[in-house]
Every structure is written in structure tokens, then in C-alpha cells.
């Protein structure tokens, strides 16, 4: 295992993050605050309570998930797309490193940044709502697992993408709708039965439900399922990455 290579990639990526720290933190914090104002204050004043919890507190886990998913995917996809775009990928391909090390370096860096932003948003939300976290350890575990698995997913998108449009396409066309339909702002139980069944095919439902359970002790689906779903997703992504590096798909002509 070439641990130094992982550290080198991680450090290099994090230095990019810190170089642009202002914009990478300000924008998600601002967006989230807007959500709190619009959904929490304006709409929340009419909805008041969902399953016995104030609407403001109810949407916190979903909001964090929304941002963390977007961040993890876009950081990791950009992280590996950029070397392809400027040509520095030659160095990764000619170095004595395995797919595991390259992936670990980029994914850990992207996940770390997403995690940082997730925690900053969590801190921000304390300004808007009264929150107590029912299962803090599980909360962190879900957050970390989500950051890692979606950073991996983003990494795959970055390798797959052949231009900037493709790079933006998946997060925009698939991930954001899935999060919005995944119960970020409502409970699945508020939907008509038919739509509840459809929702069960949305993987993000399991994520948000598990995460919300760690905050509020409420879940749309059993927590075990949530854990299982996210672990399965992680493994599927890992397998895909392993295959990509073995076959050289989109990397080696």
C-alpha cells in the first residue's frame, strides 16, 4: 500500500479546497440559510408540526443531506475530472499506485470537504431552530458514510464525464430531484399510499430517513434498512471504480 501517495493526493486536493475556502463555504451556508427562511419560517409557520416535531427542526437533516450530497459529488467529480481536463492525469497513470490509492486520495479529500460543510450547516441551523440530536454517534456515522459513498459516486462521474456539461448533468438531473423527492422537506407518510410505494425505490429516502432518525428518533423506514442501503451503494461504487481502473475505461486509450 502506497500510503504516501494517498497522503500526497489528499494534501494536494485539500490545499485546493483551502485556497478557495471562502467560496466553498459561503455559498452552501447562504443557500441553507435561505431554505430556513423560506421553508422554516414562511411555510413552517403554516405547517407547524410534523410527527410532533417543529417543521424547522424536521427539515434540518434533509437540508444537511441535500448540501452534503451535492458537495460530495461535485468535489469528487471535479477533483478527478480536472486532471483529465488539464492533462495532469498522466502522472496518476504512470505512478506506482493502484486504483485503491488514487481513489482513496481523491474520495477522502472530497468527503472531508463535504463533511466540513455539513458540520458548518449544522452549526448554522442552531441559529434558526431548537435542535437536540437524539443519537449523535449515529448522526456522525451516517454523515461520514454518506460523504464517502457519494464522493465515490462523484469520482465515477468525474471519470465518466467527457465535458463540463456531462459533469454537471448527473448531479443536476438525477441527484437533486431524488433528494427533493426523498423526503428532505416532508415525511413520506404524508404522501398518498401509491406514492409512498414509489418512494421506496428512491435510494435517497433511506439516507434521509436514517439521518433524520439520528436527529429526531423518527424514521420513514427502519434504520437497519437505511444502513444496509447506504453500505450497498458504497460497495457498488467501489466495485465500479475497481473495474474502471482495471480496464482503463475513459482513462487509458
Amino acid at each position: 500500500m502506497n500510503l504516501r501517495a494517498i497522503a500526497a493526493i489528499f494534501r494536494f486536493e485539500m490545499s485546493r479546497t483551502f485556497r478557495t475556502l471562502g467560496q466553498s463555504v459561503v455559498s452552501p451556508v447562504l443557500t441553507t440559510s435561505l431554505y430556513f427562511v423560506v421553508f422554516g419560517a414562511a411555510i413552517g409557520s403554516r405547517i407547524q408540526e410534523v410527527e410532533g416535531v417543529s417543521y424547522g427542526a424536521f427539515i434540518v437533516p434533509g437540508l444537511i443531506m441535500l448540501t452534503v450530497l451535492q458537495q460530495a459529488i461535485s468535489n469528487a467529480s471535479f477533483g478527478i475530472y480536472f486532471p483529465k481536463f488539464v492533462g495532469t492525469i498522466y502522472e496518476l497513470l504512470s505512478a506506482p499506485v493502484s486504483f485503491l490509492e488514487v481513489t482513496a486520495g481523491y474520495v477522502l479529500a472530497a468527503a472531508t470537504k463535504a463533511l466540513m460543510i455539513g458540520l458548518i450547516i449544522l452549526a448554522t441551523s442552531f441559529f434558526f431552530v431548537d435542535l437536540n440530536i437524539a443519537h449523535p454517534v449515529w448522526m456522525v456515522a451516517f454523515l461520514v458514510l454518506t460523504c464517502l459513498s457519494f464522493a465515490l459516486f462523484g469520482f465515477i462521474i468525474g471519470i465518466w464525464a467527457q465535458n463540463f456539461e456531462q459533469l454537471q448533468m448527473v448531479p443536476l438531473l438525477a441527484v437533486t430531484p431524488l433528494v427533493f423527492l426523498g423526503g428532505a422537506f416532508y415525511s413520506i407518510s404524508m404522501l398518498p399510499p401509491a406514492w409512498q410505494t414509489v418512494s421506496l425505490f428512491n435510494p435517497v429516502v433511506y439516507l434521509i430517513s436514517g439521518f433524520r432518525w439520528s436527529f429526531l428518533g423518527l424514521a420513514d423506514v427502519p434504520v437497519g434498512w437505511s444502513l444496509l442501503a447506504i453500505t450497498a451503494f458504497l460497495i457498488a461504487c467501489l466495485a465500479t471504480v475497481a473495474w474502471i481502473f482495471r480496464s482503463g475505461w475513459r482513462l487509458r486509450p
Binding site: 486532471p83 488539464v86 495532469t88 506506482p96 486509450p253
Partner: protein, 318 residues
């Protein structure tokens, strides 16, 4: 003779779409030599380097680096190799020293700031170490690429057209760096379009065109071929055969009736004086005399056009 450090056997590359860029190339590189790979645009030089270094998936054949197969023992093989690509592939916003440090880390080597400083100084980049790469000139960027490759102390260094777009002075500096590396025992494989460069640097020269290695020869042997000059003598009357008076000088008659005399400029006696004296003594009237050099360039262009025939698509080297 030095041992073989890089062994290429029947290496083939067929790109998606069916274009064959390498036709069963075999080549042995000796430890510590400077090998120059010459060839016109599109000959397959970059492809050859890419398949060795892991950038291009080979379609057939085998490459070993110090006995390590590049496919099955890629870690051992690649850790010995440094690559300076043809294109200036660098992250524009990164600082020079960080990108050089990154290369060392990526190859699994422990931090060594003294070495990084040495490499940057050697390439006259030390003063620019904290500059962003986008703020460097083209020649400096090229040297950053070299610094990145040297940062992990390779035993074999591939330089894919290191002096393209580099001015004459800098080119000489770079040659100095390369010679210094050779002194440290680094094996160097460089590609170039400049025959002058191969002449100045290489121990051996290989000529590749259309994915085939046409010739691999010691530069000295090539140079002695190169050292030959031709003297063409035109007489008032075109000749059909060498006149008896001039027999024994090794003359040939050209198609247009002129005489061709080939001599070695490096030899003690070229035989020109003797020949011209004989011409005068024979009473033949000289009309014109012309000398020509058969340069490596000519040999090279000759080989390449011979191989490519009439449907030559790439341009020949300058």
C-alpha cells in the same frame, strides 16, 4: 557491455477504431545510456512511451523494466520510471514547489526538501518556486515537468520532445542537465525531431516511422556514415564510363554523366588532392565541382520516405 534495463518485446498498439500505431516493436535499452528516438510526426514515439509508462493500454507484447513486467509488477516497474510528457500538462493555479512535492509523494518517496531544492536549482526554477504555474513562461513550464519527474529519483527518464518550443540557449542548458543525469547513472530515452539534438546527446539512435522501428544504431557508427562527403565532378563532356586515367580512385559515374567521389572527412587523407591532380594530368577539362554531405538527416529522411512510399501522409522531420 552494460546490462539491459528496459526490454521491449513485440510491443503492439491498436487504437480503438483500428489504427495500428505500433507494429511489434522490440528494443533493448542499456543501463546508463542516452537513447534518442527519432521520427516524423505521428510515427508512434509518444505511443511507444505511453505503453511503457502506463498511459496507453498495450494491445500485445511485453515490457520489462529491470526485470519487472510493466503489466504484472507495475509498482516495481513504474517506481523506476520518470516521465516528461510532450504536452505541457500542469495545473495552472498550483505553486511550482507544491506540484514538485506532489510528484515525489505520489511515487511513495519520503519527504526530502533538500532534494527538491537541488532539483529546482538544477533547472533554474528555485527563484520561481512560489510562483503559480500559469505565471511561468513556456520554457519554464517544460522545466517544471522535468523537475516533477526528477523529484522521485527515477532510474530511467523518458523525455518526450523536451526541447520543443525551447530557445537555443535553454536547449543547451537542458542538454547539460541531461548529461549530468547520465553521469548520475540515469538511463535516458528522449524523442526529438532535431537530428542535431540526437547527434549532440545520444549514445544510440533509433528511427521510428509508421509504428515500425527502422534502425537502431550506435551514434558513432551512424556518425561515421554521416562523416562521409561526396564530391561530384562535372567535365566538359559527359562520361559513359570512368576514364582509364582516373581508374583506381573509386569513382562512380552518375546517370547524368558526372563523376561521383565519396570520401571520409574524418580520415587522415581524403584523396581529393590526388584525384584532382590526376584529373589535371589526364587533360580532362573540369566544368564544375560540387561537394555534398550525407547527413544523418539525409539518412533519416531517406529511410522515412523509402518506408512511407508515395502515400506519405505525415510530414518529415525538419
Amino acid at each position: 557491455m552494460a546490462r539491459t534495463i528496459l526490454e521491449i518485446r513485440d510491443l503492439e498498439k491498436v487504437y480503438d477504431g483500428g489504427f495500428t500505431a505500433l507494429h511489434a516493436v522490440s528494443l533493448d535499452i542499456r543501463e546508463g545510456e542516452i537513447f534518442a528516438l527519432l521520427g516524423p510526426n505521428g510515427a508512434g514515439k509518444t505511443t511507444l512511451i505511453g505503453t511503457i509508462c502506463g498511459l496507453v493500454q498495450p494491445s500485445g507484447g511485453r515490457v520489462t523494466v529491470a526485470g519487472h513486467d510493466t503489466a504484472t509488477e507495475y509498482r516495481a516497474a513504474r517506481s523506476l520510471i520518470g516521465l516528461v510528457p510532450q504536452e505541457v500538462n500542469l495545473e495552472p493555479f498550483e505553486k511550482v514547489i507544491n506540484t514538485v512535492r506532489f510528484s515525489r509523494g505520489l511515487f511513495g518517496k519520503p519527504r526530502n526538501e533538500a532534494l527538491i531544492e537541488h532539483v529546482l536549482r538544477q533547472l533554474s526554477l528555485w527563484d520561481k518556486r512560489d510562483s503559480q504555474i500559469r505565471a511561468l513562461s513556456g520554457g519554464m513550464k517544460r522545466r517544471v515537468l522535468i523537475a516533477k519527474a526528477l523529484a522521485h529519483e527515477p532510474r530511467i527518464l523518458f523525455l518526450d520532445e523536451p526541447t520543443a518550443g525551447v530557445d537555443v540557449e535553454l536547449r543547451r542548458d537542458m542538454w547539460e542537465v541531461v548529461r549530468g543525469l547520465k553521469e548520475d547513472g540515469v538511463t535516458i530515452i528522449l524523442t526529438t525531431h532535431y537530428i542535431e539534438e540526437a547527434e549532440a546527446m545520444a549514445d544510440r539512435v533509433g528511427v521510428i516511422t509508421r509504428g515500425r522501428l527502422l534502425l537502431v544504431e550506435d551514434k558513432d557508427a551512424l556518425m561515421s556514415r554521416l562523416g562521409r562527403k561526396e564530391l561530384v565532378i562535372e567535365l566538359r563532356e559527359p562520361l559513359k564510363a570512368v576514364p582509364d586515367e582516373l581508374a583506381g580512385h573509386g569513382l562512380e559515374v552518375l546517370g547524368d554523366g558526372r563523376l561521383l567521389f565519396t570520401y571520409d572527412t574524418q580520415a587522415e587523407r581524403t584523396g581529393i588532392t590526388r584525384l584532382l591532380a590526376a584529373v589535371q594530368a589526364s587533360g580532362l577539362h573540369l566544368r564544375d565541382v560540387e561537394t555534398r554531405t550525407s547527413s544523418l538527416e539525409e539518412i533519416f529522411v531517406g529511410l522515412v520516405t523509402e518506408e512511407n512510399g508515395a502515400d506519405q501522409s505525415g510530414e518529415a522531420a525538419p
